[in-house]
Symmetry: C2
Subunit: 199 residues, 2 copies
DNA sequence: ACTCCTAAAACGAATGCTCGTTCTCTTATT
DNA sequence: AATAAGAGAACGAGCATTCGTTTTAGGAGT
């Protein structure tokens, strides 16, 4: 009853992270459904039993990774939206793209986001989670747009939500081109956006 | 030698299409790696042997579907780029989005494109194919931009390729929002783009 | 300080099932 | 008659997961 042999909470958290990061590497290499539990287990350097103690099924592991991949941009976006004085839209876009750039490499979490998009199409729970996250991202852009409207950068009578959608679209739109075609680089793209916006 | 018992070429093509369409339905439901060959075979109403006569492996089937999904927009885009008189950029975007809308539903091929993006990250051959296709799409936008520059719609000194990238980005950027969050609808989005462009 | 004890943590062989593919046989076509 | 087209049983590999066992951590009793 009393003897409670347990390992420290830090140790538990560290083990969990060890597994998640091994899984992330595997999923980056092979995708969700082509990596086997044995792959993850070997990558983590643990045993079957150890991994299954922390994640009762492969689906749980996928969920953990998916949340990490899709939620990662949250703080970045929130920070930009809340900053004083208000950030001009193009500069805000540039800062988001800078974040995307750091996470678009071979090790970056955003490559996993692409897989999450696919997975969300057949996993309703994941779809709900992703929908909430992305609507939240768009909402942060909406805040930025409203502030830009007060500053006269955008016509006051425009539909802020719609403008936010357009601005937001420029992020995954570039990300996909970068991942799939390798171009354009961020500065070139931003110059293109500026020219398109006529500013 | 001479007796060449063969079925008509039309019959062969029809069978092939029958299999491809069954596969498309399965892949839409379950994704590439969670649909089994048995699923496709049952959906097509054929036998194992029949399907394997037309597609020697599952990978071949995935490739066929991927090419269909990613290549589908080609003619639409080419048509708009080549039209006389030149189509204003916003109108061109609207027409592309109209096509996307038709293919974004539960049965539309574009939902498969998302899976192809994921697959391209670990299949070099598919990655090359997709890169070529998407660079081609962007090139069509570039043609449009150059013509818009001649018409004064876009500054003549802008980098047409970069502007094209920005314009192109607005397509998958909207598509993803639509698929993942269910919003905004096309007209709202286009109004947002117009307001953002300050036109 | 040093055992002993208990339960958590970790292990890994074994399991049962599913998958992609092969292969032999039957049917259809010219 | 000869061969392509189609059928479907069978196979071996690989999968996620289970479960009985071993190791480890750390408080209790001395």
């Amino acid at each position: 009853m009393y003897p409670v042999p347990r390992v420290s909470a830090e140790h538990l958290a560290a083990r969990r992270r060890q597994i998640v990061e091994a899984a992330r590497r595997c999923f980056l290499r092979e995708g969700f459904h082509r990596t086997t539990m044995q792959d993850v287990i070997a990558e983590a350097g643990l045993s079957v039993g150890a991994v299954y103690r922390y994640f009762p099924s492969k689906a749980d592991l996928i969920n953990a990774i998916a949340e990490e991949a899709v939620g990662g941009a949250e703080e970045v976006l929130a920070g930009i939206a809340r900053q004083e004085p208000p950030v001009p839209l193009i500069e805000a876009l540039g800062r988001v793209l800078a974040y995307v750039e750091t996470q678009a490499g071979d090790e970056g979490v955003l490559r996993i986001a692409i897989q999450v998009w696919g997975e969300a199409q057949r996993d309703p729970a994941l779809a709900t989670f992703v929908a909430g996250k992305y609507a939240g991202f768009r909402h942060h852009f909406e805040v930025l747009v409203r502030r830009a409207q007060r500053g006269g950068e955008i016509p006051a009578d425009a539909d802020a939500e719609a403008v936010a959608a357009a601005l937001f679209a420029l992020v995954p739109g570039w990300f996909l081109q970068l991942i799939l075609t390798g171009a354009p680089d961020r500065d070139t793209y931003l110059a293109g956006v500026r020219a398109l916006l006529g500013r």
